[in-house]
């Protein structure tokens, strides 16, 4: 049940993200929406590896030995590893996208994609 709840809240973020990318015109808003979409997908991935009432996949002094039976009480570590990668990729894309936005704004004086060329530019 709890897994389903996590999944639904993640999926709702995905939908909001896609909605934002489709409807917003301001580039910064589009990028924020992309980040929301990414957060949603990350939550979705981790929720697919959630074990209800499970333990974190880190062994400590108080953990019982991991046998084929007790291993089933852990949360699935693989989705977590994938999400680590995905978060870093998201940061890289955002940084690059913002750089492009700054260049775009400096030459177009507008934050809307498809803006007309400014007069100085057209004169070039």
């Amino acid at each position: 049940m709890e897994t389903v709840l996590f999944g639904i809240s993640a999926f709702s973020l995905v939908l909001v993200g896609i909605y934002g990318v489709l409807t917003r015109r301001n580039i910064i808003k589009i990028l924020l929406a992309l980040n929301i979409l990414e957060t949603g997908i990350n939550l979705l991935i981790v929720s697919l590896g959630n074990t209800p009432g499970g333990k974190a996949p880190i062994l400590t002094g108080s953990t019982a030995p991991v046998t084929p039976d007790t291993a089933l009480f852990f949360a699935d570590p693989l989705p977590q590893a994938l999400v680590l990668t995905s978060i870093v990729i998201g940061l890289g894309t955002t940084a690059l996208a913002l750089t492009l936005t700054l260049r775009y704004f400096r030459s177009r004086k507008s934050l809307e994609l498809g803006a007309e060329m400014t007069r100085e530019e057209a004169a070039e």
């Binding site: 992309l34 979409l37 996208a97 260049r103 994609l113 803006a115």
Partner: protein, 498 residues
């Protein structure tokens, strides 16, 4: 041994060296990139005879499949690696003289595009594929935006490309997560022989996973970024986008649709539907791309749209999934890559002379530069598929396959024919402009690297056209490799070697 992984590492080393080098000298970066691509090409060529006998699987960090990440070195993927290295090498060589000196970071990103394309065609792991797609993506957005000309237009084109690719990439990640939660594996080999998914679920996951690959191969409707990106990028990078990125994308597409989703795979219940969808998209793509190219006066955009059409033909060839058609599609893909690179080089040179990519400004350029004009014609004839040029044999095989397959594939047959007619018209029109119109004076001579790269590429396509039997053995074993039902077994058995 797993030495073959070095194929992936040459350009990585070059990229890692560049930041420190560029701190010393701003333009440092051409040399390491050139050397890395040459070394990679030579190494791949040296491996080829052995791999033609039996494919090899590379294991990383000593973990057996499907737990670790594996790379499949097969005739198809190794041939693709050679093509990618060759295209990268020629592009950097062309850049030595023909454009303003580029900063070190340009070559850093360029090396990463090459690395990522190689990783894509070699990898046998879904998530790893996603990571390589992202590397190629990020480096490409930056290189498109760094293109010559207006910064606003270039950044806008880069942003458009970025936003579309990012959505596709994230949805693919969702698809991968769904596949993992249903099957518990991420290895493409395991998935190719697995208990079947629910039909609706298989369709959903399959389409999600294919999305970014559709974007890379510029299939309709994921190609609205193409026009802007091609006209903004520098000539060598526009050439790279259409010969390296699209090439790698098409190989990955073949691998996913025919390998991972073919035969008794987990996706089997929806495989037919997915192929039908791709066929429909392929047909629309051919018509859309060729008509858009026909209507376009900007020469660089025209070449970009013509790539869209050609990629559509390749995908149709793959979907027919018969040995002849796949062989033809591969030949079409390879000759398109070489010819498009040549055309972009020539166009880049001519545009640098006239200052505008508009077709009408180029009147008489062919008579001013007969050699350059001849190179353009060679490239155009290859893409059109005139007999005795390599594109012809490719198209012929795809058409034969489509006619034999019948049914929905017939739509592909007619689309390719119609597309070829459009190609003929717009390339002849461009040739007419170059040679028969106008009396404009041009100054300066074509420089050495253009001549050199042009001769290499033209010689390659002409040889492949006159003596198709030279590359036939490779094409046939690559097609067999793509259609083989043994894909999963080859990868999974590699664990026995440990």
């Amino acid at each position: 041994m797993n030495m073959e992984i070095l194929l992936l590492l040459f350009p990585v080393i070059a990229a890692f060296v560049i930041p420190a080098g560029s701190a010393v000298k701003k333009t440092f970066g051409r040399l390491p990139a050139l050397l890395a691509f040459l070394a990679g090409f030579v190494y791949a060529a040296w491996l080829l005879p052995g791999v033609m006998e039996a494919p090899r699987v590379v294991i990383t960090a000593n973990w057996r499949p499907p737990f670790g990440i594996n790379f499949l070195i097969s005739p198809l993927s190794l041939g693709a690696v050679m093509m990618i290295y060759a295209a990268g090498f020629l592009s950097v060589l062309f850049d030595l003289q023909n454009t303003e000196k580029k900063k070190g970071q340009y070559y850093l990103l360029y090396s990463l595009v090459i690395t990522a394309s190689i990783g894509m065609v070699l990898t046998a792991d879904l998530f790893n594929l996603f990571v390589f797609l992202e590397i190629a993506g990020i480096a490409s957005f930056a290189l498109v935006a760094a293109g010559s000309g207006n910064t606003g237009t270039a950044s806008g084109a880069g942003l458009k490309y970025l936003i579309q690719a990012q959505i596709a990439g994230l949805l693919m990640l969702g698809g991968i997560a769904l596949v993992y939660s249903a099957s518990g594996v991420l290895n493409m080999g395991s998935l190719s022989s697995f208990a079947a998914f629910n039909p609706a679920f298989a369709f959903l996951a399959g389409v999600l996973i294919l999305l970014p690959v559709l974007l890379e191969t510029k299939l309709f409707p994921f190609n609205t970024w193409v026009g802007g990106a091609y006209s903004s990028a520098s000539p060598s990078f526009a050439g790279t986008l259409s010969s390296v990125t699209a090439f790698a994308g098409a190989v990955v597409m073949g691998r996913l649709v025919l390998g991972m989703m073919g035969g008794a795979s987990a996706f089997a219940p929806a495989a037919g539907k997915i192929r039908l969808l791709l066929l429909v998209l392929g047909v629309i793509t051919v018509l859309y791309g060729e008509i858009a190219a026909f209507r376009e006066a900007n020469l660089k955009k025209m070449l970009g749209y013509s790539s869209i059409g050609q990629m559509g033909m390749v995908i149709i060839g793959f979907i027919i999934a018969d040995a002849g058609a796949v062989t033809g599609a591969l030949l079409l893909l390879a000759s398109h890559s070489a010819a498009k690179l040549l055309l972009f080089f020539v166009t880049g040179f001519l545009v640098s002379k006239t200052g505008t990519p508009d077709r009408h400004a180029l009147k008489g350029a062919g008579r001013a530069y007969p050699f350059v004009g001849a190179l353009f014609i060679v490239g155009a004839l290859t893409i059109m598929g005139i007999p005795l040029f390599s594109g012809f044999w490719g198209k012929l095989d795809v058409l034969k396959g489509a006619a034999a397959a019948g049914g929905p594939a017939l739509a592909g047959f007619f689309a390719i024919l119609a597309g070829t007619v459009f190609e003929g018209v717009y390339f002849l029109r461009a040739g007419h402009t170059l040679f028969l119109e106008g009396e404009r004076k041009f100054e300066g001579k074509p420089n050495f690297t253009l001549v050199l790269t042009g001769i290499i590429l033209a010689a390659a396509v002409i040889t492949a056209g006159l003596f198709p039997q030279l590359i036939r053995p490779w094409l046939e074993s690559a097609a067999k490799d793509l259609l083989s039902s043994d894909y999963g077994n080859i990868i999974l058995q590699a664990g026995g070697a440990l």
